[in-house]
């Protein structure tokens, strides 16, 4: 692994790549600081800018946004009790009380220290575990790939607490959108209604920009005012930064929880954030301090979400199944650059893969340094009025949607999906399932047909191949389990 990382450092350490890592880190930190504007939206906006870039530089810039976004997301959680990103929500539980007690600097130091440690561990795990998982993926046949695709959608749907059915519906909608265009098996035009534009299919880029960026702008306009209601920023980070090491058990436990959740496709850093917080409270000898400014209450969620992000790239790179929204967008970028995720990527492009891992490591350290130095500046944008911010975001997003294939139709697709995303989010339909369905649609359908061809149209192939049966069983269990548990609990109450 170290030898491969050395190759990676050589590839990632070129001035151009370092520049793009730095750009991604700055953007990620900036966007992470903005409540409501997650790193995912920034990645979606910037995808079109990566078209003309080298694949490694493009992936590093996008991944650095995601990594740095998690760093920045905690800042407003602590200072304003407003999570910069959903994955930093639990950080506010103890970070904000610390700020109220005049210990905002300490809280931000704890957050940065925990994020740096967990980010580095996460990247090391990504580098160490990706290849074995990728090799295991080589033994998978079409039936297993079909099952994995379905599992990805099932996990995300099941993780949408209380909205599993809605998640499945959105997944089916995403798959339906992926059917538009030439059929991948026969080349037959489907759902094109005579339109040449639709024959090429509906692209990931306008859909992603619509669902994340345009939807976000709509919410911001409705909200009005400024992003930040407070507006004063203060704090030196060092006391907390070093203080992180006083809680090694919480740090290790939370990092492990985040890393494990990241590997499971679709669960994401938000779940890791809350789970690690609960686990830290459980093992604490003084759990009553939680919620009142306990340092462990800041370390746990921040360590978990920062170790979760790098490991969420493992299923994306090795199996083509994104571990979360950021990984889904990274997967879009990988596909756009003509690369196919999977074991072959590691064999045919080792410099790219290990350059990506090494670049992430550099990005994590860079994010911590920038975090310490520049947070007060970044936070200034939270006092810019939404009246100013909203039109700028619309212009940048839709210019990006147009630039992707220089098609005005893409702009209207982005707007349409922005409206769909707005309605979906208001009614708690998880839009990530739609994106996942769209991304995985081609893989799922192609694998489905290939498996049927191999079996002579025998549908039992999905159940007679052990691995496929296990994965599909897991997918069904994930979907059915919450409802079953609820029913049992209801019966118990009766």
């Amino acid at each position: 692994m170290l030898e491969n990382l050395a190759i990676g450092f050589a590839a990632a350490g070129t001035p151009t790549n370092l520049l793009f890592i730095a750009i991604g880190t700055v953007i990620g930190l900036w966007i992470g600081v903005l409540p409501g504007l997650g790193a995912t939206a920034a990645m979606a906006i910037l995808i079109p800018f990566t078209f003309t870039m080298e694949p490694l530089a493009a992936l590093l810039m996008l991944a650095s946004i995601s990594v740095a976004g998690a760093f920045g997301g905690s800042i407003t959680s602590i200072l304003l009790n407003i999570p910069g990103d959903a994955s930093s929500a639990a950080t506010a539980y103890d970070g904000y009380p610390m700020a109220q007690q005049g210990r905002a600097r300490v809280a931000m130091g704890l957050s940065t220290g925990a994020s740096l440690f967990a980010g580095i561990v996460g990247v090391m795990l990504l580098a160490g575990l990706s290849e074995p998982i990728a090799k295991a993926a080589l033994t998978f046949g079409p039936a297993e790939y079909f099952a994995l695709g379905m599992l990805g959608i099932a996990i995300v749907a099941a993780a949408s607490a209380g909205n599993t059915v809605k998640g499945l519906i959105m997944g089916a909608l995403g798959l339906s959108v992926s059917f538009v265009g030439l059929d991948s098996v026969l080349g037959f035009p489907r759902f094109t209604y005579g339109s040449i534009y639709l024959e090429a299919g509906i692209g990931f880029v306008p859909v992603t920009i619509g669902l994340f960026a345009i939807t976000e702008v709509m919410f911001l306009i409705t909200q009005g005012g400024t992003i930040s209601r407070a507006g004063r920023l203060e704090g030196s980070l060092w006391e907390g930064f070093i203080g992180t090491l006083r809680y090694p058990l919480v740090l290790l436990q939370s990092t492990s929880i985040g890393a494990l959740i990241g590997i499971i496709p679709g669960v994401g850093a938000t779940a890791a954030n809350f789970l690690a917080y609960s686990a830290a409270q459980t093992i604490s000898k003084t759990p009553e301090r939680f919620g009142k400014g306990a340092p462990e209450g800041v370390i746990a969620p921040e360590a978990s979400n920062n170790s979760c992000i790098p490991t969420s790239f493992i299923p994306a790179l090795t199996l083509g199944i994104p571990g979360g929204a950021s990984a889904a967008i990274l997967l879009v970028a990988v596909t756009i650059h003509g690369l196919r995720p999977g074991a072959l990527l590691f064999q045919s492009n080792p410099e790219l893969v290990y350059g990506f891992f090494s670049g992430l490591l550099i990005g994590t350290v860079m994010a911590a340094i920038l975090c310490i130095a520049m947070i007060p500046l970044f936070a200034m944008i939270t006092v810019i009025r939404i009246e100013i911010l909203a039109p700028l975001l619309i212009v940048v997003s839709l210019a990006g949607a147009y630039a992707a294939s220089q098609s005005l139709a893409d702009v209207f697709v982005a707007i349409a999906f922005g409206i769909i995303g707005y309605i979906a989010r208001r009614r708690s339909y998880p839009v990530i399932c739609l994106v996942l369905g769209l991304i995985l649609g081609d893989l799922i359908e192609k694998s489905f047909h290939q498996a049927l061809m191999i079996s002579g149209r025998d549908y039992t192939i999905f159940l007679t191949r052990p691995m496929s049966a296990v994965i599909l069983g897991l997918a069904v269990a994930l979907v059915v389990w919450p409802g079953f548990k609820r029913r049992v609990a209801q019966k118990g109450e009766d």
């Binding site: 089916a172 339906s176 759902f191 409206i419 009614r427 708690s428």
Partner: protein, 165 residues
């Protein structure tokens, strides 16, 4: 009597059911291999959407489907005009993009949206519009070599007055 939240829930679920019905109905006219997967997924989506609509009519699952507290506070603070602006800003910008091109559409959006939201500093808005246009000129046509659309009217103008010469 169906509650307001449930009514919205039923409407959306039925809308989704209609989309899946179209998927199935259209796919049935395709060759066997091309229609197989869309029919399976469309039928699954149709069944789930109808089930969701029925559950909402029965008054179940609406709590899980409701808006989050953040959204509720947004709704409370936003009047119909602000809501309309949130929903229409991007589509109107898209229409302007098609009609008058990127540069004019951007200038209008950067000036008009803040104005409609109650921000009245004319000079600042003018500078912001010019700055946004300048940043996009540098980024797209100059750096990325991607020309941005000039719009139907812009095309007509160019053909009538520039190319004609």
């Amino acid at each position: 009597m169906v509650a307001r939240g449930a009514r919205a829930e039923v409407t959306i679920a039925l809308g989704l059911a209609a989309v899946f019905a179209v998927v199935v109905g259209t796919a049935l006219g395709y060759p066997r291999d091309a229609r197989l997967f869309p029919v399976i997924i469309g039928t699954g989506g149709l069944v789930l959407s109808l089930a969701l609509a029925i559950l909402a009519l029965m008054g179940r699952n609406v709590a899980a489907a409701g808006t989050t507290p953040d959204m509720a506070s947004e709704e409370a603070g936003a009047g119909p005009a602000r809501f309309a602006l949130a929903v229409l800003a991007a589509p109107v910008f898209g229409l302007l993009l098609w009609l008058v091109g990127f540069w004019i559409a951007t200038a209008v959006a950067v000036y008009a949206i803040p104005w409609l939201m109650g921000y009245r500093h004319r000079l600042k808005l003018l500078l912001l519009a010019l700055g946004t246009i300048a940043a996009h000129v540098v980024t797209f046509p100059l750096l990325l070599k991607v020309p941005l659309p000039v719009g139907e009217l812009g095309e007509w103008f160019l053909h009538a007055f520039v190319y004609a010469r």
